[in-house]
């Protein structure tokens, strides 16, 4: 392994032990609970889709019905298996019945546990077969095209209208983008349902819907053929519908999902219990579907100072890594996040940025690190902005980041125009070429600023992790350890959707996914 910074491997190993301990404490809690989003996801994986006459998703209709009329803590599978047996109908048909009021699931509440759930399994298998087929298409693409050795260029589209997004995405791909992310409409993270169908009205982004996923994937498949490169698609499995969106992404072949274990808690004031339970199921799905996750540590630096709080980013990366491991995730899917956000006013800011980026690369050598561009210190001076982005691009290529989220000169002005994106891609491509092997050529002064900075940040992260291990993650969040924002265990949105599992709780699809992931690990 590359160790240009001469980092202390014992401290790194100790960080991992602390982080593992932190994740294990939380995992014990997670395993005892379910949420409305988890149960809706079970229904989606049974193949239920569509909305009722009021536009309410059928999966919401069923879960709302259970919350109101029955004991959801047994898990929706319990009810579905009985109802399907009784009516001799598909999950979709049962869901429609429940939505229209012609089927009351509460009558099954006190019936005994069905250990086999033989009615459900073929439907789960059908969905998983679809996910497998999607994995196969992706893996064929990646096998048959050249593997990039430089960071993958990632740009966002955010028009609010999926059809305009497609035009923008095609242009970006033609200009060299490797990854397209469709930003969601502002506020979608707080909707406790996933909107349905193709959408053309969104603000600051476009709604994440299964149909929008499909439309964009279809367009990118076409442009992949034309460019003979596989263009990856990203969306957001975050907010109150985390695992549902992961499931939709798995079905429609999204390649990456924003999926942070703490982001929603800190930045969207979603209840921490809800988020931690939901992130687990969503990550199990991502692991199974070979979707790379992107974690959101970069966001801490939008409220906290990037120089003073660099260690919180590293500590959180360690924690996100362990949560991902708990979900059976391979390191090659862990897109841990960080960002280039140190104030340009600080002398040697570039050296500190390079220290942080290089440090992340050395500590997580197999992770497809996601590196975010300057945003906080972009001013509206688009000309200077190009240079700030150029410095960021140099740090990205030099420290061999994996996922290179391009900065836009018009950051802080508007969601990018097609031309803003093209200029960013032109500049990034130039630097990618010009600095291609620069990182291989340089070593760092062992007593210099960069090495010292990396050691300092690692030590600070180590202390922080030790403290969090002792106080527990819930307490740490209450203390505002990340992003200096404090959240309470019983505060925030979505807590009403959290339930302690009944002793007879069943989730056959989660069990099946876990079993298969375990087999896959043993098989390797």
């Amino acid at each position: 392994m590359n160790n240009k910074l001469n980092l202390d491997q014992n401290i790194i190993a100790s960080c991992r032990v602390y982080a593992k301990n932190i994740a294990e404490q939380v995992q014990q809690f997670i395993d005892l609970h379910t949420t409305v989003a988890v149960e809706r996801t079970v229904l989606r994986l049974l193949g239920i889709d569509g909305v009722d006459e009021f536009g309410r998703p059928l999966v919401n209709a069923v879960i709302d019905h259970l919350v109101e009329k029955a004991d959801i803590s047994k898990g929706v599978s319990h009810y579905m298996t009985y109802a399907m047996n009784d009516h001799d109908e598909t999950p979709q048909e049962i869901a429609k019945r429940v939505a229209s009021g012609s089927c009351n699931l509460s009558i099954y509440q006190d019936l005994p546990v069905k250990t086999e759930m033989s009615e459900l399994i073929p439907f789960f298998e059908k969905t998983l077969a679809r996910v497998e087929a999607m994995k196969e298409i992706r893996s064929q693409w990646l096998k048959n095209t050249d593997k990039k050795t430089t960071p993958a260029k990632y740009v966002i589209v955010a028009t609010g209208n999926i059809y305009e997004d497609i035009k923008q995405a095609i242009s970006a791909a033609k200009k060299g983008a490797d990854i397209i992310a469709v930003i969601r409409s502002t506020g979608q993270s707080l909707l406790d349902y996933v909107p349905y169908g193709a959408t053309t009205e969104g603000f600051g982004g476009t709604y994440a819907t299964q149909e929008n996923f499909r439309l964009m994937r279809e367009a990118l498949d076409q442009v992949s053929l034309e460019e003979n490169r596989y263009i990856k698609l990203v969306n957001y499995a975050s907010g109150l519908c985390m695992p549902e969106i992961a499931a939709m992404g798995a079905i429609e072949r999204l390649d990456m999902m924003l999926n942070d274990s703490l982001y929603g808690i800190i930045f969207r004031d979603i209840n921490m219990k809800r988020t931690l339970i939901d992130q687990y199921f969503s990550r199990v799905i991502s692991s199974y579907a070979d979707m790379i996750i992107n974690t959101g540590e970069d966001n801490y630096l939008t409220t906290s100072d990037a120089y003073d709080h660099a260690h919180t980013v590293l500590a959180s990366q360690f924690i996100n890594e362990q949560f991902a491991k708990k979900a059976g995730m391979k390191e090659s899917l862990m897109g841990l996040g960080h960002a280039f956000e140190i104030s340009p006013e600080i002398e040697n800011s570039f050296l500190y940025e390079l220290a942080q980026a290089e440090m992340a690369r050395e500590i997580f050598p197999n992770a497809p690190l996601k590196y975010m561009p300057p945003t906080k210190h972009m001013t509206g001076d688009i000309f200077k902005g190009c240079v700030q982005d150029a410095l960021f691009n140099i740090a990205t290529v030099t420290s061999k980041q994996s996922i290179h989220l391009l900065g836009m000169m018009t950051e802080a002005i508007h969601t990018p125009f097609m031309s803003d994106r093209a200029i960013a891609l032109n500049i990034a491509s130039y630097i990618e070429k010009a600095f291609k092997n620069f990182g291989d050529e340089i070593t760092f002064n062992p007593d210099g600023i960069i090495v010292k900075r990396a050691h300092f940040v690692l030590n600070q992260a180590h202390h922080l992790l030790e403290e969090i291990k002792d106080e527990g993650l819930f307490k740490a969040l209450e203390k505002g350890r990340f992003a200096e924002i404090s959240r309470h265990e019983d505060g925030g949105k979505g807590l009403a959707g959290v339930f302690v599992k009944h002793p007879d709780y069943q989730n056959p699809i989660l069990d099946l996914l876990k079993k298969r992931l375990k087999e896959e690990h043993h098989g390797r």
């Binding site: 609010g160 035009k167 095609i170 242009s171 033609k174 200009k175 409409s185 502002t186 506020g187 993270s189 707080l190 603000f203 600051g204 930045f267 969207r268 004031d269 939008t302 409220t303 001013t379 509206g380 802080a412 002005i413 508007h414 969601t415 125009f417 097609m418 031309s419 093209a422 200096e484």
Partner: protein, 251 residues
């Protein structure tokens, strides 16, 4: 030379040369046709001798142009009106002293990022303890009680809270401005205040990267703050206006 004219034009390197640069995309393939169309658009904008210095394809159906030319238009500075705040800017300490000298403490500030807007960076920068860029937020001001309601707060909820907390000042942050969603939302808050007959009870201030004082006045707010404004800017304005209006003033 005659007395300095108040009529001006953009300046490149010679007085009155009118030199400007513009860039834009067109929904046509990159081609001589697109280049001519770009020049024609510039001519219609009153730009003489437009010269396309660079163009390139953005996709098979879109192209990008960078042009230079000479602007024909002039403006008379005497005819230009700027809506400016005529309140003096005070430091945090001065604001605190001002409050102590004039008011029945504390002054209550309630703020939120409203509507669908989930971005709280702006309101946090103004209100939260730590503030932004080394400038403490209102929570840290002596004599001010600050309540930050966070993001995606409905206008109705904001007003309800403001009444419940006996607010003197309401702060609204708007970051997302795509398709003018902020204008609609800000207008509806003022309408709500008026419908409830509460407009006079509060000082109402807006802020955000695309907000300016002129826009705020136009929409019926007391003030608007754009980029690079800090808690002390907002507080200075608010306390002076509260005093003028006699709200919570010590008799």
């Amino acid at each position: 030379m005659a007395a300095k004219s108040t009529w001006i034009r953009p300046y490149g390197d010679t007085e009155n040369d009118g030199k400007i640069q513009i860039s834009f995309s067109l929904p046509v393939p990159a081609s001589p046709l697109g280049e001519e169309a770009a020049k024609k658009i510039a001519l219609q904008m009153g730009i003489h001798d437009p010269s396309v210095v660079h163009y390139e394809a953005l996709s098979d159906h879109f192209s990008f142009y960078v042009l230079y030319g000479r602007a024909e238009h002039m403006v008379d500075l005497n005819q230009v009106n700027v809506v400016e705040m005529d309140h003096k800017v005070m430091s945090k300490e001065e604001v605190e002293a001002f409050i102590e000298a004039h008011f029945v403490e504390p002054l209550v500030f309630v703020g939120a990022s409203t509507g669908t807007d989930a971005h709280t960076v702006g309101i946090d920068a103004i209100m939260n303890m730590k503030g932004y860029n080394g400038n403490y937020g209102l929570e840290r001001y002596k004599g001010i009680k600050a309540y930050n309601l966070g993001g995606q707060v409905d206008n109705e909820v904001l007003l309800e809270k403001a009444i419940e907390l006996n607010a003197d000042v309401i702060l609204i942050s708007q970051t997302v401005t795509q398709k003018d969603v902020h204008i609609e939302n800000l207008t509806s808050f003022i309408e709500l205040l008026e419908a409830e007959n509460k407009r006079k009870d509060f000082i109402v201030i807006i802020g955000g990267p695309r907000i300016h004082h002129g826009l705020a006045k136009e929409l019926g707010y007391d003030a608007g703050f754009g980029p690079k404004k800090y808690a002390y800017d907002v507080a200075s304005f608010a306390v002076q206006l509260l005093k003028e209006k006699g709200i919570k003033v010590r008799r």
